[in-house]
Symmetry: C2
Subunit: 99 residues, 2 copies
């Protein structure tokens, strides 16, 4: 299991519309092979910044299988119009959960 | 509940020692008021980058109560020597978990 953190920048004036679009787009991501969960979070220090947190079985399920599928286009068609900067994506793996 | 994401940069040559130091330092963080969980993760795309993910009851429990306590010094004494850049910290709040 691997976790994607996508850093998304939007105009805070569009926050409500953007959040509704992501909620709708969750139905697309849910269909992606190896996609296990999706959560939208907002950065407390900067209301223009969101972090989308998605769990995948493997990095390839996100970066190859999903990105090369029609689902990626559907996802971007819903959420992409709100991005005011290119999304930044990284994947993290747990080293240890201590408590 | 709020989640801290601390971006930590280390020399990958010291990864093993750093991870052991963070494991030890978890005993310090566990004592902090309002601190609910702590997980260390590593960025797949860049082995110099770690994301420490900590759940707090409130931002103030992290940024005021913890930072002004002796525990912060103890934490930094253990993990800080491995940082090769100043840590970057942000807090995120859940907007929605969709599946």
């Amino acid at each position: 299991m691997i976790t994607e953190i996508a850093s998304l920048t939007i105009d805070p004036a569009n926050a409500g519309e953007f959040e509704a679009a992501v909620s709708k787009a969750s139905a697309v991501l849910r269909q992606a092979a190896g996609c296990r969960s999706m959560e939208l979070t907002r950065v407390t220090e900067d209301p223009a910044q969101y972090r989308l947190i998605v769990q995948w079985d493997r990095v390839e399920d996100h970066m190859v299988v999903f990105r090369e599928s029609d689902l990626f286009g559907q996802w971007r068609a819903l959420a992409g119009p709100y991005f005011v900067a290119p999304p930044k994506v990284e994947h993290i793996e747990s080293v240890g959960r201590y408590f």
